[in-house]
Symmetry: C2
Subunit: 144 residues, 2 copies
């Protein structure tokens, strides 16, 4: 589906992306402005982050004279979803539900999203198991 090599994105790089996602089309100056309101990173540091993001393919740099105009190549939601899925996949299937429940508990969620969640839950209830089996050991196990 996607043609870019999914090299992952670091913490600091993510901060830059947030600015770009919010501003849409933007440039170095704007990124510096907004980011320096939150972080005390000097220009040079932020420029390095931008460069690495372009290299990694997360930012598109369209030349405009001798400047660049930056845009994100994937949406924030897509990116976060991928990262979160990868993270969650580190863990035993058995406990994923618990974690998602806890995340739900402490995140602000809109009415619309809550409704979608209810639908999804009804859907899942039709086939949900009493307990999701552990998939941690080669042998299989229920104690996980």
């Amino acid at each position: 589906m996607s043609e870019k090599n999914l090299s992952s994105i670091s913490d600091s790089e993510w901060e830059v992306m947030r600015i770009v996602w919010t501003l849409g089309e933007t440039n170095t100056k704007q990124i510096l402005n907004e980011l320096q309101a939150k972080k005390d990173w000097i220009d040079s540091t932020i420029k390095t982050l931008i460069r690495r993001l372009v290299q990694k393919g997360w930012l598109n740099a369209k030349q405009d004279g001798r400047r660049y105009i930056y845009t994100a190549t994937v949406s924030q939601t897509e990116m976060m979803y991928n990262e979160a899925k990868t993270l969650l996949n580190r863990m035993c299937d058995m406990h994923k539900g618990e974690v998602i429940l806890k995340l739900l508990k402490d995140s602000p969620v809109s009415k619309g999203d809550l409704i979608k969640m209810k639908k999804e839950i009804s859907q899942k209830e039709k086939t949900a198991p009493e307990m999701v089996p552990c998939n941690c050991l080669k042998t299989g196990s229920t104690i996980c």
Copy 2:
């Protein structure tokens, strides 16, 4: 609450923790056995990971003769929850709901957890906003 310095845990280290969580009290040999069924890491590599986990305080090493018996210092769910929360906090509040919904969609969840989720959703519906405001820029924004 917790007295340990929360240095974070890496991908490879996580694989070791999974084994320990599943086995409960365990030792190097068992970890090597189980882990080498999944990964082609040589002994030395895994021993390094164990050592780093002990250093970071994620594994407890109780001496037993010249061996050690290892146990995890936090549960898998706690650990994942913390990592996931940290990750999610990188992102704009506005879209967290979407991401959680997508995670829910592609994770196996037990009947019990689904019921808990429904309860939580009913709870949240009482005060949920039409739309969660963006918190990405110093100025505030609705376009995020």
